[in-house]
């Protein structure tokens, strides 16, 4: 086998909320890897900040037994994504690898997809992105720089996936589990993010780390009532104070 085979994998991510410390290393790594424009104070004040992955803080319990929790939220790559059918020009669609992808050059900027997204992980370029001159040569050459007027969102580091698959094909071998790492996963100090193939129909000898985690007792998905069927699976926070130990989100 020498050509790149497409659609063989179904990518997903497991986020162990119990391990997340809310350190935001993933946010920074993503920003650098994916040429996400710099967020100035003015942008945040106008609620236009961009972060393909963000760490949300939420409170659990009633005062005084209240606890701060962290949960990283990124594009859930829903199998049944509300953002996909509404795009009039197929700029966003579901690809055979189980990912919800955004094609920048096809986007006309209706922002309809962003309305549909219940996780609010889609971002619109209100302005042409600018970087300080000293940053210009630091941009990732493998990632398109998005111009103004289009949507963008987490791509599961598509450039890394493509490179990994290509390398395996070049060396005429199967892709190894863990060979492809997303930028956020690479940066996570507590190993809370695990990216990998989660296709249940894939006959594999080695199940892979992400795949072995999705059937965990603690596994859940966000907003299940909307039936979006995300490919990002969360593992619930373990709360020793609580009966049973595991607290849901």
């Amino acid at each position: 086998m020498t050509t790149e085979v497409f659609g063989k994998h179904k990518w997903g991510m497991v986020v162990d909320v119990d391990r997340c410390t809310g350190c935001q290393a993933c946010v920074l790594a993503c920003q650098v890897e994916n040429n996400v424009p710099l967020n100035t104070q003015e942008r945040y004040e106008r609620a236009r900040g961009m972060a393909w992955i963000r760490v949300e803080r939420y409170w659990e319990g009633e005062f005084p037994d209240v606890k701060a929790r962290f949960i990283p939220i990124l594009c859930q790559h829903c199998e049944n994504a509300p953002c996909e059918p509404v795009c009039p020009v197929f700029a966003t669609y579901h690809n055979p690898e189980g990912m919800n992808v955004q094609i920048y050059n096809r986007c006309v900027g209706t922002r309809y997809c962003a309305n549909g997204c219940p996780y609010i992980v889609r971002f619109f370029n209100y302005w042409e992105p600018v970087w300080p001159e000293s940053f210009r040569n630091h941009l990732n050459p493998d990632v398109t720089v998005r111009s103004r007027g289009i949507m963008e969102k987490c791509s599961f580091c598509m450039q890394r996936i493509r490179r990994g698959v290509r390398n395996a094909a070049k060396e005429n071998r199967e892709l190894e589990d863990g060979e492809i790492q997303t930028a956020c996963q690479q940066a996570c100090p507590t190993d809370a993010l695990v990216f990998g193939d989660i296709d249940p129909d894939n006959n594999r000898t080695n199940p892979g780390r992400a795949y072995s985690m999705i059937n965990d007792d603690r596994a859940y998905t966000l907003l299940p009532r909307l039936n979006t069927d995300p490919n990002v699976i969360y593992l619930a926070k373990v709360d020793p104070d609580r009966e049973g130990g595991a607290g849901g989100h």
Binding site: T3, F6, N95, V101, D142, V145
Partner: protein, 240 residues
Amino acid sequence: MASLLEFIKEKHRTTPLWIKALAPVLLLGGLAVFAVTGAVTAFVITAWLGQPIPVLGFDQTVKQPIAFPHTIHAGTGLFPSTGLPGQFIDGLEMDCTFCHRTVTSQANAGVPPVALCSYCHKVIGPEENPELAKLRKAAGLTEEDPSPINWKRVHRLPDHVRFVHEPHIRYLTQHPSEIRNAAPGVNQLSEALPSQVCSTCHGDVASMLEVKQVEALKMGQCVDCHRENEAPTDCTVCHH
């Protein structure tokens, strides 16, 4: 007879005013509609065929800082020298990958560093060739300060396209029947050399004194070729 003539005259005189008035407008309006339709049709047809109109770079040559002849380096036969008019030099039949070294392993084919040029041109080529003098200056072989050569890019894909040479070379060397614009006989080979593959997109560069883009390299072309060869056509293969 006279009365008939009168009748026709009368009839003509009473041609409804609206027809008279409408005629020039219809004529002008018709022409305008025709022109607009024509322009739109031309646009649509070029989009369908994936063939842009030959302006703005396509099918045109670019003046390079040094008149580098691909002919002499890669071609076979006698070719005119670019620096010394009237002189002819035998083609060297060099392999494409001799200079474009990363083409079989990486995304970019790679423009060779000037050191690679000067490795040969330290000795080869007469002093009086002005083009070689520029090269030697750039390579720091002369007294003057060296300065980098600002090669002009001929094949440029839009920023939102991620083209990787390596898998394309790999596939075509193993499937020589898919190579286009190739030298005779290449398509019958069981395995081709990387340098026999380039012509598919770049044409016969070896015969070009000044390199020009011969294929439109529009998305339609990429997609067609991918479909014919059962390569993936998912958008994310090239756009991310």
